[in-house]
C-alpha cells in the first residue's frame, strides 16, 4: 500500500517536475504560458476597445452613410435591375429580412417606398447628406437661417450633426473644471506633502481620497439639486444649467485625482532637498515653493493633464448639469459636452443609423484624445522618476 502511495507521489512529482535532475516540467511550462497569455488580456482589451468603437463609426469615416431626408426614388423596373446587395440597402432591410422576402414582397416594398417618397419635404436641405465631413465640421447656412451656423440637432426632419458645438462644450466645461480644481488641489497637495504635521497628514490624505469615492452620479445629483439653485441665486444668471455649473461640479471630481497624483509626485522628491533648504535658513513654505515644486514640476504637469483627461471623459456629472447644445463662448450659456451627447442620445438613436454611427465616432474621438493625454502624462511621470532617482 505504502509502496503504491510512494509511486503515486513520484508520478505527481515527475509531472510537476521537482525530481532531482529533471529539467522538463510540463505543468510549470503550461502554467507559465497560461499566465503569459492571460496577462496579454489588458493589451487585447485596449485594442478591442479601439477596434470595436471605431468599427461602428467606419461608415462615417469613409463617407458611405447617407442621411439625406430625400433619397433617390427608383421605379419597380429600375429597382429589380439592381444587384441584390444594393437593393437590400435601398430597402433598408437586414440580411435576414431580405433573404426571407420573395420577389413579390420586394416589389411591394419598392412601391411602398416610392409612395412614401411622394410627401417628401420640399426643403433644399432635405437632399443634403449631413454626415459628410464638411457638414460635421464647417458652418452651413440651413434653410431658415440668415447666416452659416454650427448646429448639433440630431432630431427633426433634417438631422444637423455639426460636432463643433459639442467640442466647444467639452472644452468650456473642462477648462472651468481645471481652473477651479487645479489651484485648490495643488495647494492641498503642497500642504499635505510638505507643510502639514505627520499626524495631521495621516488623516487628511484618506479624507481627501474619500472624496474620490463619491460616485459621479451622486456629484451630478448634488450639482443638479443643490448647487444649481444656489449658484443661480448667488450669480443671478439666466440659464440654470450652464457650463459654469457643469464645470464647477466637474471640478469636484477632478480635485481628488489631481491631488493624489500631484501629492505622489511631490512626495517622491527626496527629503534631503527640503532638509538642505531648511538648513540654509529658508522657511518651510519657501523650500516647498522654490525647491520642491520645481523639482516635481513634471509630475504636477502630468496631474494637470490627467485631470483634463478626466474632465473630458466624465459623463454623469455633465449629463445631469447640461441641457441644449448651443454654439456660444459664454460660460453662462448652456453647453452639451461630447460625453453628455453620447449618453443622452444613444438610447434613442436608431440602431445602425447615422445618428448612432456619429455618436460612436464621437466616442472614438474621445478615446483617441484621452489615449494621447494619458501617453503624455505617462511619459512625463517616468521622466520625472528617472531624474529624481539620478538616472539620466
Amino acid at each position: 500500500m505504502s509502496h503504491k502511495v510512494q509511486e503515486n507521489a513520484e508520478k505527481a512529482n515527475r509531472w510537476i517536475g521537482i525530481r532531482r535532475g529533471q529539467t522538463r516540467r510540463p505543468l510549470e511550462w503550461l502554467a507559465e504560458k497560461g499566465i503569459l497569455v492571460v496577462s496579454f488580456s489588458t493589451i487585447l482589451m485596449v485594442l478591442l476597445i479601439f477596434i470595436f468603437v471605431t468599427k461602428e463609426a467606419l461608415p462615417i469615416f469613409f463617407g458611405t452613410m447617407n442621411s439625406a431626408a430625400n433619397q433617390t426614388i427608383l421605379s419597380v423596373e429600375e429597382a429589380t435591375k439592381l444587384k441584390p446587395e444594393a437593393l437590400r440597402e435601398y430597402l433598408n432591410l437586414t440580411q435576414k429580412e431580405f433573404a426571407d422576402a420573395d420577389a413579390e414582397t420586394r416589389a411591394l416594398l419598392i412601391e411602398v417606398r416610392a409612395e412614401a417618397a411622394k410627401d417628401q419635404s420640399k426643403d433644399k436641405d432635405a437632399k443634403v447628406n449631413t454626415t459628410e465631413w464638411r457638414y460635421l465640421l464647417k458652418a452651413h447656412q440651413w434653410t431658415g437661417y440668415d447666416k452659416p451656423e454650427y448646429i448639433w440637432q440630431p432630431v427633426g426632419d433634417i438631422h444637423k450633426y455639426n460636432i463643433i458645438p459639442l467640442l466647444l462644450g467639452s472644452l468650456k466645461v473642462s477648462l472651468v473644471a481645471l481652473a477651479f480644481a487645479l489651484p485648490i488641489a495643488l495647494g492641498a497637495a503642497l500642504y499635505v506633502s510638505q507643510l502639514a504635521r505627520p499626524s495631521t497628514k495621516e488623516w487628511l490624505k484618506p479624507a481627501i481620497e474619500l472624496l474620490s469615492g463619491i460616485p459621479s452620479v451622486v456629484l451630478g445629483f448634488f450639482a443638479l439639486i443643490v448647487l444649481a439653485s444656489a449658484l443661480q441665486n448667488i450669480f443671478g444668471y439666466q440659464t440654470r444649467l450652464n457650463a459654469f455649473l457643469a464645470g464647477l461640479s466637474l471640478g469636484l471630481a477632478v480635485i481628488p485625482l489631481v491631488f493624489s497624483i500631484a501629492e505622489d509626485a511631490l512626495t517622491t522628491v527626496p527629503a534631503s532637498y527640503m532638509q538642505a533648504a531648511l538648513a540654509l535658513g529658508s522657511s518651510k513654505w519657501q523650500a516647498a515653493w522654490h525647491i520642491i515644486l520645481p523639482a516635481a514640476l513634471p509630475g504636477v504637469f502630468a496631474a494637470a493633464v490627467l485631470g483634463f483627461g478626466r474632465a473630458l471623459g466624465e459623463t454623469m456629472i455633465v449629463l445631469m448639469t447640461s441641457s441644449a447644445s448651443i454654439m456660444s463662448f459664454s460660460l453662462f450659456d448652456s453647453a452639451r459636452p461630447i460625453t453628455a451627447a453620447i449618453a443622452a442620445e444613444l438610447a434613442e438613436a436608431v440602431f445602425g443609423g447615422h445618428h448612432y454611427r456619429i455618436l460612436f465616432m464621437l466616442g472614438a474621438l474621445l478615446f483617441s484624445l484621452t489615449f494621447v493625454l494619458n501617453l503624455l502624462a505617462d511619459l512625463v511621470i517616468s521622466k520625472l522618476r528617472n531624474r529624481l532617482e539620478g538616472k539620466k
Partner: protein, 315 residues
C-alpha cells in the same frame, strides 16, 4: 541684497511664508469642507426617509411613489452586477499582476506594453466603456452567440443588454484597479520568502501558489474592494449594456436586464414628474448608494494601510 545681508534671526518669520502656508492649508480644509457639505447634505435630508422598509420594498407601487416605493430590486441588481464583475476581473487581474512581478524580467518590452495598456485603460472615459460594451459584447459577441446557438429564433437572447454584459463591461473597466493593487502587494512581499522557498526545492509555480499568493491575499482583497467601490457607483458603462428603467421582479438570469441603484439616482433626479415631491425618495436613494460605496471604501483604506505598514516594517 538687503534680504541676504539680514542677520539670521530665528524669531523673524517671513510674512509671505505664513500667508501661503495658511492659503495652502485653507485649500486642504476647503476640500474637506466640500466633502462634509455633500455628505452632510445627503445624510441630513436622506436620513428621515431612510428605513428598513425603504430598503426592502420594490417599486410595484410606482417609480415615483414616495411613501410606498423602495430600492430593494436596485440594491439586488447592483449587488449582482458587482458580484459577477468581481468573479470576472479578479482572476485576470491577479494573473496579470503575477506575471508582471514574478515571471517577466524587469522592464522587458512586454512589461512596458502591459503597463502602458493598464495606464491607458485606467484613463479611458467610462462612457467609452459603455460604447465598447454595446459594440463588442452585445453587437458582436452576443449576436454571434445567438446566430450560433439558435439561428432559427428571431428573439435575441444574448444579443441584447443584460446583467452578464454589464458586469463584463465593468470588469474591463476595473481591470487596472485590481492589477495595480495586486502588484503593489506582491512587491511588498520580501524576496527572501521566495528565495527560501526556491532554495528548499520548490518549483516556481509552487512558490507562487503556496508562498506568494497567500501573502498577497490582503492586496488582492484591496483590489477587489476598490474595484467594487469604483464599479458600484458607475452609471455610464451600464447605460447601454444592461441597466433598465424599470423591470418586473428581480433580475435572476444572466441575460436579464436589471434595475440599478446608481442608475436609479439618475432617473429620480432627472425624470421625476415632480422633483419637490419626490425629494425624500431621491435623497434616501442617494444615501443608500453613498452608504454602500463608503463602507466599501473605508474597508479598502483600512486593508491598504495595513499593507503599507507591513511594507515599511520589511524595509
Amino acid at each position: 541684497m538687503s534680504k541676504v545681508n539680514k542677520p539670521f534671526n530665528s524669531k523673524s518669520v517671513d510674512r509671505w511664508s505664513v500667508f501661503f502656508t495658511g492659503l495652502s492649508g485653507a485649500c486642504t480644509y476647503l476640500i474637506i469642507a466640500i466633502l462634509f457639505l455633500i455628505v452632510g447634505n445627503i445624510v441630513w435630508n436622506g436620513a428621515p426617509h431612510f428605513s428598513l422598509r425603504f430598503l426592502t420594498t420594490g417599486v410595484d407601487a410606482g417609480m415615483f411613489n414616495v411613501s410606498q416605493s423602495g430600492v430593494f430590486p436596485m440594491v439586488v441588481g447592483t449587488a449582482a452586477r458587482v458580484f459577477l464583475m468581481t468573479i470576472f476581473v479578479i482572476p485576470v487581474g491577479v494573473i496579470t499582476a503575477l506575471y508582471m512581478t514574478e515571471y517577466s524580467k524587469r522592464n522587458s518590452v512586454i512589461i512596458r506594453l502591459i503597463r502602458g495598456a493598464v495606464n491607458n485603460l485606467a484613463g479611458v472615459p467610462s462612457i467609452v466603456f459603455g460604447l465598447f460594451g454595446l459594440g463588442f459584447f452585445i453587437n458582436f459577441l452576443g449576436q454571434n452567440m445567438d446566430a450560433l446557438m439558435n439561428p432559427a429564433s428571431a428573439q435575441a437572447v444574448w444579443g441584447k443588454p443584460s446583467l452578464l454584459w454589464a458586469s463584463m463591461t465593468l470588469a474591463v473597466m476595473t481591470l487596472p484597479v485590481v492589477i495595480v493593487a495586486t502588484e503593489e502587494s506582491l512587491k511588498s512581499i520580501p524576496p527572501g520568502l521566495r528565495e527560501a522557498s526556491l532554495a528548499l526545492g520548490a518549483t516556481k509555480l509552487q512558490t507562487v501558489v503556496k508562498i506568494v499568493l497567500p501573502q498577497a491575499l490582503p492586496g488582492i482583497l484591496t483590489g477587489a474592494i476598490l474595484a467594487i467601490s469604483r464599479a458600484a457607483g458607475e452609471v455610464a458603462p451600464i447605460l447601454f449594456t444592461g441597466a433598465a428603467f424599470s423591470v418586473q421582479g428581480l433580475a435572476t438570469g444572466l441575460t436579464d436586464q436589471f434595475m440599478d441603484l446608481a442608475y436609479h439616482v439618475f432617473i429620480l433626479s432627472t425624470q421625476s414628474p415632480n422633483i419637490e415631491q419626490t425629494r425624500p425618495l431621491l435623497y434616501a436613494t442617494v444615501m443608500a448608494l453613498l452608504l454602500l460605496t463608503f463602507v466599501v471604501n473605508i474597508a479598502a483604506v483600512i486593508v491598504r494601510s495595513r499593507i503599507r505598514r507591513r511594507m515599511r516594517s520589511f524595509r
